[in-house]
C-alpha cells in the first residue's frame, strides 16, 4: 500500500513536469465549453457564411439541452479519446526503453505495484480532465439552452467515464507489449471496432463496452439505463487488462540498455 502510494506520487510528479496535468485538462475544458457556444451561435455562423437564405437561418430549430450534452460527450469520445491515448501511449514502454523501469524494478518493486500506480495516475488525470470539461459544457448548456436533468447528466457522465477508463486500461496493456505508437494505433483500432460493431448490429452486442456510449445518449432521450451486462463486462475488462499487463511486465524481464 505504502509502495503504491510512493509510486503514485512519483507518477503525479512526472505528469506535472511533463505538463500533462496542465494541458490535457485545458484541452478538455476547451472542448466542453466550445460545443454549447457553437450551437448557440450556429444561426449567426451560418448567416455569416452566406450560403443560406435568411429565412432558413431564422427557422433553424434551437437544439434541446439534452442534444447539446450528447454532442459534447461524443466530441469527448473522439478528440478527447485521441488525446488521452496519444498522451498515454508511452506510459510503460517509455519507461522501459529509457531505463527508468529497470532502475525501479531492480529495487524489488513488484510489477503489480508498478502497473497499478501507473493506472491510478492515468485515472486521476482522466477524472480531473473529464470532470472539468463536462462541468464546463454543463454550465454553458444550462446558461444558453436551458436546464439539464441532473440525474441524467450524472449518469451519462459516469458511463462515459467508465468507457474512458476501459480505454486507458487497454492502452496500458498494449504499452507494456509494444512500443508507443503501435500501442496507440492498436488501442484506437479496438475502441473503433467496438463502437462500430455496436452501432451496426446493436442486438448482438448488448454486452459490449461501446454499449455504454449509446446508453448514455439514451438516458438523455429519457430511456432507462438497461445494459447491466455492458457495465460488468467493461469493469472486468479493465481488471483483466491490469492483470495481463502485470504478468506481461514480469515475463519481459528488463531489456539491455542501448
Amino acid at each position: 500500500m505504502k509502495m503504491t502510494w510512493l509510486m503514485y506520487r512519483k507518477e503525479m510528479l512526472e505528469m506535472v513536469r511533463s505538463y500533462k496535468l496542465l494541458w490535457i485538462p485545458v484541452v478538455f475544458l476547451l472542448l466542453g465549453v466550445m460545443q454549447p457556444i457553437v450551437y448557440f451561435y450556429l444561426p449567426n455562423i451560418l448567416a455569416a457564411s452566406g450560403d443560406l437564405s435568411a429565412e432558413l437561418v431564422q427557422n433553424l430549430p434551437v437544439p434541446l439541452p439534452s442534444e447539446v450534452m450528447v454532442n459534447t460527450l461524443s466530441q469527448f469520445s473522439t478528440i478527447g479519446l485521441l488525446v488521452l491515448v496519444i498522451a498515454g501511449m508511452n506510459i510503460v514502454s517509455g519507461e522501459r526503453y529509457s531505463g527508468t523501469a529497470a532502475l525501479v524494478l531492480v529495487r524489488s518493486v513488484p510489477s503489480q505495484y508498478f502497473i497499478i500506480s501507473k493506472w491510478l495516475g492515468q485515472l486521476t488525470l482522466l477524472v480531473i480532465s473529464f470532470t472539468l470539461g463536462y462541468s464546463g459544457a454543463w454550465y454553458y448548456t444550462v446558461q444558453l439552452m436551458g436546464p439539464v436533468h441532473w440525474q441524467d447528466g450524472l449518469a451519462a457522465g459516469a458511463l462515459y467515464l467508465l468507457w474512458f477508463a476501459f480505454a486507458q486500461s487497454l492502452i496500458l496493456l498494449f504499452s507494456t507489449l509494444l512500443r508507443g505508437s503501435a500501442a496507440a494505433v492498436i488501442s484506437l483500432l479496438i475502441m473503433a471496432a467496438l463502437s462500430l460493431s455496436n452501432s451496426l448490429v446493436p442486438s448482438w452486442f448488448s454486452w459490449s463496452p461501446a454499449r455504454l456510449l449509446s446508453d448514455a445518449a439514451a438516458i438523455f432521450a429519457g430511456i432507462d439505463f438497461s445494459a447491466v451486462a455492458a457495465l460488468i463486462v467493461t469493469t472486468l475488462g479493465c481488471l483483466l487488462c491490469l492483470a495481463a499487463s502485470t504478468v506481461l511486465l514480469r515475463g519481459q524481464g528488463i531489456p539491455d540498455q542501448p
Binding site: S18, K20, L22, W23, V26, V27, L30, V33, I37, Y41
Partner: protein, 65 residues
C-alpha cells in the same frame, strides 16, 4: 457581427491563450534535441494553430524518451 456577447466567447479565448502559453513555456525549457524538428517551427505552429497546434506539439512534438 453585432449581437454577439463577448463575455461568452472570452473563456474560449482565455483557455486557448493558456494552452499556447503552456506550450511555449514547455518549448522554451526543452533541450533542442528532445524536440522533433526545429524549435522556431513549433513556435509558429503553437501560435497560429489554435487548439490543434498546441495539441500536436504536446503529443508528437516532443520525444518522450
Amino acid at each position: 457581427m453585432e449581437g454577439i456577447k463577448w463575455g461568452l466567447i472570452a473563456p474560449i479565448i482565455v483557455l486557448q491563450l493558456i494552452l499556447a502559453v503552456i506550450g511555449l513555456i514547455s518549448l522554451a525549457k526543452a533541450e533542442s534535441n528532445s524536440i522533433r524538428g526545429p524549435k522556431w517551427l513549433w513556435v509558429i505552429i503553437i501560435l497560429f494553430g489554435n487548439i490543434l497546434g498546441s495539441i500536436v506539439y504536446f503529443t508528437i512534438g516532443r520525444k518522450e524518451y
